[in-house]
């Protein structure tokens, strides 16, 4: 036997990627995390909660939570900080702190990326290349605004609102905290922020970064806890402003609670985004766009493109390509650098996705799932595509918040518009066409806060983000995001 062929003697077409896990130690997970109140890490008087690693369905760490009395302390500290040093600092001084926080995130980016993947279940590829760098960008961007508020168009010296209570979701734990904290501080407010029950860890590492940045005590308070803590926070009478990102149900409750209090409110809620693909689209890249729209973060994204509206003349061709492409997605260990789709964040979310998927089958849609093997442990869902879905089905109307795509066909641009807009939500939409005039005409008539032209999930701190109808009101990012934290006396700007 010739030696020269020995090393490729195995069938090369079976070449696959060896596991390439990032080291868990980089995440420096502590046994126990504490609330951050008035510049100190203190024991909360609520019950401890256990954060679960959804990639393995194992306990990851214990977190001390706050009680209502702790919330009073936190809100009081925020008020003191607002009236004391923070609102008297110049914009340039506030900017200096924000720059420090931004650099702190960048310096600890590897640690945060691993920690976030462990706590949330999303793949390290996403935390490393999206969540963490984008969080740092938000602080950098808003640091630049802190001494330029007079250029926002709200008069020569716009004033902050005061103390902001903020509640963030579990799907982008660090990034959502950054979206909330950075504009609030840049505008001169102080904050009490509650991370999600299932993903509190990265926000508490952000607390360490904030402490290291020497931010005056009480300017940022981070109060972990479950939904009851969030409810107590948003109704706290010591707040001037409430910002919430999460489910539409909870958003409605908050709006009821705050009605008549005079407190400012912004809500960023659910969505049922539509990707609209016309027959002249760049078909292979449209496939990429669809994959990004629904399988990024396993579809646990409020602006996910969970409905695909495809022109009937290319539906079959597009779906063939889409299925082939989705079959190449690697589902599994969130820490593996080659994982494309990680774990679902919690058992309850997994249950909800499974329940809605079953409803899709029961209502007569045709189910297709990727053949990718799933790990034995942890909360995983194979990428799922429902064809023959109709507007009447639950899978086409309800937010699934998972890697499940419902495909609906259309024949004319008007039909596509009508179907895309036929939803109580209105957060995101996307159009794939090589014809620019058609894309612009569609964008003008789509009722959604964010409309992507030949792309999906592109974010920038300078671009406002937010929704219509049941997707909430108010914008985050850009000048309009800052306005939501300023006393503009112009309700139109925040709602």
């Amino acid at each position: 036997m010739s030696r020269s062929t020995e090393s490729v003697a195995t069938d090369p077409t079976e070449w696959d990627y060896a596991p390439a896990p990032e080291s868990e130690a980089i995440g420096r997970v502590k046994e126990r995390y504490l609330p951050f109140i008035d510049g100190k890490f203190v024991e909360g008087s609520g019950d401890d909660l256990v954060s679960v690693n959804p990639g393995r369905d194992e306990p990851l760490s214990t977190v001390s939570t706050v009680s209502e009395a702790d919330l009073d302390t936190a809100v009081h500290a925020a008020r003191q900080a607002y009236e004391g040093p923070w609102s008297r600092l110049s914009g340039a001084e506030r900017g200096k702190y924000l720059f420090r926080i931004a650099r702190g995130i960048a310096e600890r980016s590897r640690e945060l990326a691993v920690l976030e993947a462990l706590d949330n279940g999303k793949p390290i590829k996403e935390t490393r290349d999206f969540d963490v760098p984008t969080a740092a960008q938000h602080f950098f961007y808003h640091a630049g605004w802190a001494d330029k508020l007079q250029h926002l168009g709200h008069g020569p010296d716009p004033k902050p609102l005061g103390v902001a209570g903020q509640v963030v979701p579990w799907n982008f734990p660090l990034l959502m905290a950054a979206w909330k904290i950075a504009p609030a501080l840049a505008a001169g407010n102080t904050v009490v922020i509650k991370p999600a029950e299932t993903t509190p860890l990265s926000a508490l590492v952000l607390a360490e970064i904030i402490a290291d940045a020497d931010l005056p005590p009480g300017v940022v308070n981070i109060v972990p806890g479950a939904g009851d803590v969030g409810a107590a926070l948003v109704r706290h009478p010591g707040l001037d402003k409430v910002a919430f990102t999460g489910s539409t149900t909870v958003g409605k409750q908050i709006q009821q609670t705050l009605a008549g209090t005079g407190r400012k409110l912004t809500l960023e809620l659910g969505g049922k985004g539509a990707t609209i693909v016309f027959s002249d689209a760049a078909i292979d890249q449209a496939v990429e766009g669809i994959v990004n729209a629904i399988f990024f973060n396993a579809g646990q994204v409020c602006c996910a493109g969970s409905r695909l509206l495809v022109q009937e003349s290319i539906a079959e061709e597009l779906l063939t390509r889409l299925r082939e492409r989705v079959d190449t997605l690697r589902v599994g260990d969130p820490l593996d650098k080659n994982t494309d789709v990680g774990a679902i964040n919690s058992r309850s979310q997994w249950d909800k996705i499974t329940e809605l998927t079953r409803a899709g089958v029961d209502e007569g849609a045709e189910l297709w799932q990727s053949s990718c093997p799933l790990p034995d442990k942890g909360f995983f869902v194979a990428p799922t595509i429902f064809t023959d879905a109709t507007q009447t089905m639950r899978i086409a109307r309800e937010e699934i918040f998972g890697p499940v795509l419902s495909v609906i066909t259309f024949r004319t641009p008007d039909e596509a518009l009508a179907k895309a807009n036929n939803s109580p939500y209105g957060l995101s939409a996307g159009v794939w066409t090589e014809k620019g005039s058609r894309a612009m005409a569609m964008a003008a008539r789509l009722r959604a806060g964010v409309i992507w032209d030949n792309t999906w999930n592109r974010f920038d701190p300078a671009a406002p983000f937010g929704g219509y109808q049941e997707s909430g009101f108010g914008r985050e990012g850009g000048p309009s995001g800052l306005a939501a934290y300023l006393d503009t006396d112009d309700e139109a700007l925040i709602g």
Partner: protein, 325 residues
């Protein structure tokens, strides 16, 4: 697997090539390519982390796919003989290193390569002789001259012909002329496999790369190849993605598998592995074979050898420990 494309247009596309009007309608009707999303996908795939045994397998696969190339005015018989020896035994200190796929040279040096390779197929994998032809690299010559160029290379023993398309005609929209030339060259090449160089650096847009890929596949090219190596940019990952997608689509439409060869600009083992990832995920794993994918390169071989030794021995070797050619 050694068969060449028949040169007969599959029934599904017989109509398309009937005349230039229909050919243009077909090519201009192909779906567009969105550059932003294409480049985003190529960048994302390039972050695949290939480690341990899968890295070693990839390195050996990449070595076995190299078309070891010298295409200089200053080439001599001695240079070609050295190149052949290097291709037969890329790393003399590690004789288990695979041989390269082919030696790629100018037509007048084919007899030298044939002489140097004589008998080597009895001691291991056969190394093919690939010869550039058709007034390479510009392609600016009359068709009979190009045909004669091809015939002389085949007569001298070339197993593979690397032709260039008439980019001027393509850019002017004379798709029929480009098509007819490829068909004529394919016929002249006979049993030799035909690589059709699109020179993507001169085609400028991804839309054009897709059109030219389909044109070459319709005309019977066994390979579609990115570049001559004489124009910058040469091969890039996004361009190769478009071409891999084209052969994938071609196979779905006709059942025939055709090959792809990026050439120029691939210098490191890391680059090569990124291409293999693209082959696996865009075209499909069945393309992971020297018959279906090649690298047109020279310097990449030494980096592959150094990385191979690193994988086996646990430390890096300097360039001085690896033969130049």
């Amino acid at each position: 697997m050694s068969e060449t494309a028949t040169g007969v247009v599959p029934a599904a596309f017989a109509d398309v090539v009937a005349d230039e009007v229909r050919l243009r309608r077909f090519l201009d009707g192909l779906p567009g390519v969105d550059p932003v999303a294409l480049e985003q996908r190529a960048t994302a795939l390039a972050t695949r982390s290939i480690k341990k045994q899968s890295k070693l397998t990839a390195i050996d696969l990449a070595i076995s796919m190299v078309d070891l190339t010298t295409l200089e005015g200053a080439d001599t018989a001695g240079k070609v003989r050295n190149l052949v020896r290097k291709g037969l035994q890329p790393d003399p200190e590690r004789p288990d290193t695979p041989r390269v796929a082919a030696i790629c040279i100018y037509p007048d040096l084919v007899p030298v390569a044939a002489g140097a390779l004589a008998g080597s197929e009895n001691t291991g994998t056969k190394i093919n002789i690939a010869s550039v032809a058709t007034a390479f690299p510009s392609g600016r010559a009359a068709l009979p001259v190009k045909i004669a160029d091809v015939e002389s290379a085949v007569a001298a023993g070339a197993d593979e012909i690397d032709m260039v398309i008439d980019r001027g005609a393509f850019l002017a929209g004379h798709y029929g002329k480009v098509y007819d030339e490829i068909v004529a060259v394919k016929q002249a090449a006979g049993a030799a496999r035909l690589k059709v160089i699109l020179e993507t650096g001169e085609l400028a847009t991804y839309d054009n790369v897709r059109k030219a890929s389909w044109l070459a596949l319709l005309a019977g090219g066994d390979f579609i190849k990115t570049s001559t190596g004489k124009v910058s940019p040469a091969a890039t990952l996004p361009v190769t993605h478009v071409m891999l997608q084209a052969v994938h689509d071609w196979k779905r439409a006709t059942g025939e598998q055709r090959a792809v060869k990026p050439a120029g600009g691939i210098r490191t083992a890391k680059d090569a592995i990124r291409y293999l990832v693209a082959v696996r995920e865009v075209a499909g794993p069945e393309w992971l074979h020297p018959h279906w994918f090649r690298f047109g390169a020279s310097s990449v071989l030494n980096d592959l050898i150094m990385q191979r030794r690193t994988q086996l021995e646990g430390h890096y070797w300097g360039g001085d420990y690896v033969s130049l050619d």
